[in-house]
Symmetry: C2
Subunit: 674 residues, 2 copies
Amino acid sequence: MEMSGVGPLTAALRMQNVVQSSSRWAQGQQYRPWTLRSLKLQPLSPVPSDIEISRAQTPKPVDQLAQEIGLLQEETEAYGRTKAKVRLSLLDRLREQPDGKYVLVAGITPTPLGEGKSTVVIGLVQALSAHLKLNSFACLRQPSQGPTFGVKGQRGQISTHISMLEISMLINESFNLHLTGDIHAITAANNLVAAAIDARMLHEATQKDKVTVMFSRNPGWKIHGFRAYSILIPGVFLGMFLDFCNLKCDVMYELVFYIYIFGVGFFRLVVVDTNDRFLRKITVGQASTEKGHVRETQFDIAVASEIMAILALADGLGDMKTRLGRMVVGSSRSGQPVTAEDLGVSGALAVLMKDAIKPTLMQTLEGSPVFVHAGPFANIAHGNSSVLADKLALKLVGEDGFVVTEAGFGADIGMEKFFNIKCRASGLRPNVVVLVATVRALKMHGGGPNVSAGSPLPREYIDENLSLVVKGCSSNLRKQIQIAHLFGVPVVVALNVFKTDTQAEIDLVCQMAKESGASDAVPCHHWARGGRGSVELAQAVKQAGSQPSHFQFLYSQETPIVEKIRMIAQKVYGADDIELSPEAQAKIDYYNQQGYGKLPICMAKTHLSLSHLPEKKGAPTGFTLPIRDIRASIGAGFIYPLVGTMSTMPGLPTRPCFYDIDLDPVTEEITGLF
Amino acid sequence: MEMSGVGPLTAALRMQNVVQSSSRWAQGQQYRPWTLRSLKLQPLSPVPSDIEISRAQTPKPVDQLAQEIGLLQEETEAYGRTKAKVRLSLLDRLREQPDGKYVLVAGITPTPLGEGKSTVVIGLVQALSAHLKLNSFACLRQPSQGPTFGVKGQRGQISTHISMLEISMLINESFNLHLTGDIHAITAANNLVAAAIDARMLHEATQKDKVTVMFSRNPGWKIHGFRAYSILIPGVFLGMFLDFCNLKCDVMYELVFYIYIFGVGFFRLVVVDTNDRFLRKITVGQASTEKGHVRETQFDIAVASEIMAILALADGLGDMKTRLGRMVVGSSRSGQPVTAEDLGVSGALAVLMKDAIKPTLMQTLEGSPVFVHAGPFANIAHGNSSVLADKLALKLVGEDGFVVTEAGFGADIGMEKFFNIKCRASGLRPNVVVLVATVRALKMHGGGPNVSAGSPLPREYIDENLSLVVKGCSSNLRKQIQIAHLFGVPVVVALNVFKTDTQAEIDLVCQMAKESGASDAVPCHHWARGGRGSVELAQAVKQAGSQPSHFQFLYSQETPIVEKIRMIAQKVYGADDIELSPEAQAKIDYYNQQGYGKLPICMAKTHLSLSHLPEKKGAPTGFTLPIRDIRASIGAGFIYPLVGTMSTMPGLPTRPCFYDIDLDPVTEEITGLF
């Protein structure tokens, strides 16, 4: 350090400043212990409505929460007063910090009303942090707007997902349905790809005199070091240009001209985050300006899109960009896959998605931290919150802390995909599975009458009925515990207690769960009592988390596609075998030929049964699983079989719940959302 | 005040506290003088690229900016570090505060490259605030993502809109294309209506056994005081129910059953913020689940949607909600209009839009405040930023301050709609019009060769050519000045100087502008010198603003629809007459019959000519304006004639500029957006 012309005192002061600031810097880099301030709940009897509970509580400012859990100021970006995006640089700062315990909350096969899995996540985290004083973090998915406006209670025909009830537990400030806009970013990115394909197909077919020369950014295609797809050349010069580039003309030709998009089941073209059933099958390009380039296509709901899956599975900005570029959007005329990178659109997609990749920090009603990030449905997508939210949370809670993440719907779909897809992508290994059950769902599996949204519950579900409970425990509950054990992870059964449940029913479930191999089984009363109602569950999870876990995948990546599907069908669902449609078989052949055979499998299957038939409750056997169609999400990194009649665009019911949603323009209070 | 059992000192202290806090409260209610800190620009020669200029500048934290311009802490909601939404409660607090001066920036008919109107807004505000030390505020529209990914330079085939260049002048932190998500909220709201219609039509046509009874919330329809559309009743009971409600069955029938949507040109069903030309004409409902309810429809781009217009024209949350409910989405089988309110969806729409209604505060590179809010295109929508942003800004700048707002494209469309639609809705009256011209556009109007995006500029535009300039000034410039004078507002011509312009050309434009009636005409050098380059313009605007303005509308609301269209065509565009297609005439008859005849007119016309023919430059005469079709946006409050071949869904060009857009995943730096 040079200090010419500076007196000794000044020099000493400067030196001191330098020392102080480097020490501050070093401290900044270190892990910071938590100073979490819990918010007291005043549980009331009778339990008030969700919205009343939520409004009665004042959340901490999000910057205070961020400070309490050891985030640096520059690591957060506030969105209003109760939400903040957290920057991924945190992962770098806490590189050396050991991860906390990793807890997955899954469930038995639910009724159409949902069994409160997300509320178990919230209750457990509140119990761990506010009552056992252990650092803990909840990781949830962002709710889709589609189901929000659909079926009351059920919230959508295909997903109970994270409901408004859970959200009401997170914040009470006027709720922003758009959250921090991540699903909108996904929609915009997806539809940019669709527009790029449409425009390109049209211009290539109609303007042979003006050709956009397109090379992939893959090293093999990069020519003379420049991004050549910025070149628009007259068609007549194409041959000369190709000679100049020293490329075989036929190879260029198929990249340059006319993308043949259909028939190989890749990228779903256009998405909206709305349940619009009329967009399930459409014909586009009918305006005269499109010169007869009409084609059939369909919309998917945004949360079932490949870009949503990419957001949930990426482990950084670079990885997300690579996956976006790798998405196969169709095939060329000679049958070669064409990617988003080939279309020249991957940079723009990364720009559209660069903020969506940061998880959103919120809090529970008791002031515990929550990440809300990504929201794939578990039946028509892989159904788990993001790898990045889990990774950030695992670093933040520290070695003795707990991260509780949720897999959608029953363990047969959400949990199976959590293990085989998400854990494979992230490299993370879970310590405990919490399996959520309700007396209501167990009675349904035991042979109780049909449960449906909007209709009153039959008496069997209100009065004590031990025989239905026994049959439900010995069928669906036992089977779902066995599925978790296939992966070598200890299971704690959490019985989400409703006020109609009798003590005998509760005791019976806990006893039968343990007999079926659960490490423990406890009743949870978080709905009535908040975190305090889940202390027993928290203790059971802490205990199970201290046991060794022997995690293993169900199948190796090397197993052929058909075999992987069969293993899931037989070992997880209990099917005798699978049956492939000729269309599905042809696509599998094509995928194998293209080298996609090593990808894991993401089944699109009903969540209402272990089988493909929603009405088959309990643990059905003796059925053959029909694979109607199959898609490949190469960017997300999975093969996507469609089982039976699964649709990737939900619809609204006869009486959608948006009828009840209203806003008071003076108080800005929202009614009917909960 | 009761103070029993409290000592005198304590009582005195308490009293003092009460006095202090009420005085603090009273101060909080008052107007707060500004303490704006301007940021110094270091203008460089040669002028660096926009992105380099932008990155070299560190913006103030948005909460600091908010404090400097007299906002209370509780009046802002931060979105990241450089953006904040401003709450509408401000209007209430500053109710008594007189408005500042209201300046509209419009332009002559542009070339396809755009003439830098938004940069004139920014330069003017920087000059007023950083150099003349007058409180001033810019109000801009939010850019649509569609054109952002379209044509470089032009940014979209139909709109230069606010370009990325302007945005680069606003913030230099990594730019978020989604801003605060307002356009996404509009898309979501619009598509919810579409889904609601689709679902309702299907269920009513196929489930006569289950009928959702629907009453409007209009007082006339409210029955027995309850929101009856929450009722789902079996079809067989419908008659009994109607008797019970004491309603004529046929009236109910048409509200209860089957909405006939088409043929009267109301609400555009589905929108995306993407240029996807294949969605211009589509057929939906082709899946077997829709049981043959196939129909033709089309997508519009979100910024041309009625909900975007409502956002821009609403003057509060209540007004927005009323307008959303009033949107006519189709007609019943007996020909009665059906509204969003009738569909039961208006409350949900208000919930989706409740944050979008708050303008977004940002800053220019020199630290002056900017509101970015709403973004209707000026050719296929009304083309002006929001009434609310202008109103908030007029209160904030105070009596001696200036609010500079922008109308899209040429004065013939953006400015005409500003006066006849926006000022009519807001009640605000402008003090000055700034008319932006460039030597390039004037030469084009004077007979210069074709200017197109992506092609090099012909020599005429690079070398001095006084004769082309003269012809441009005496045609298009003179006509646009005359159009502003039709409304009785003084005009200052701002010549946006390019480096190829010669002094003789600049002097000639200024002289001819004054001869054509402009109060003043000055060259602007903001592109090279920032606010300092616009000081002369700022002084001219200040001077013109002190003159009396005699504002008048072009037409009265009472004038019949056809007459209003004719007045715009003849007086503004210079047409001989208009020509209505039979379809347009039939719709006008229907609108008159429904009582919509008093609404103002929003012409959808090319921005590239005063006429309907883009190739006709200068000030064309001797043409008949063809009205191909006509729509009615009852919620937004205007009748919407489509002139010639205008499309409300743009497309991407052969070589879209997304090819150049990229993101560095390590530095998070974006390239190619500017």
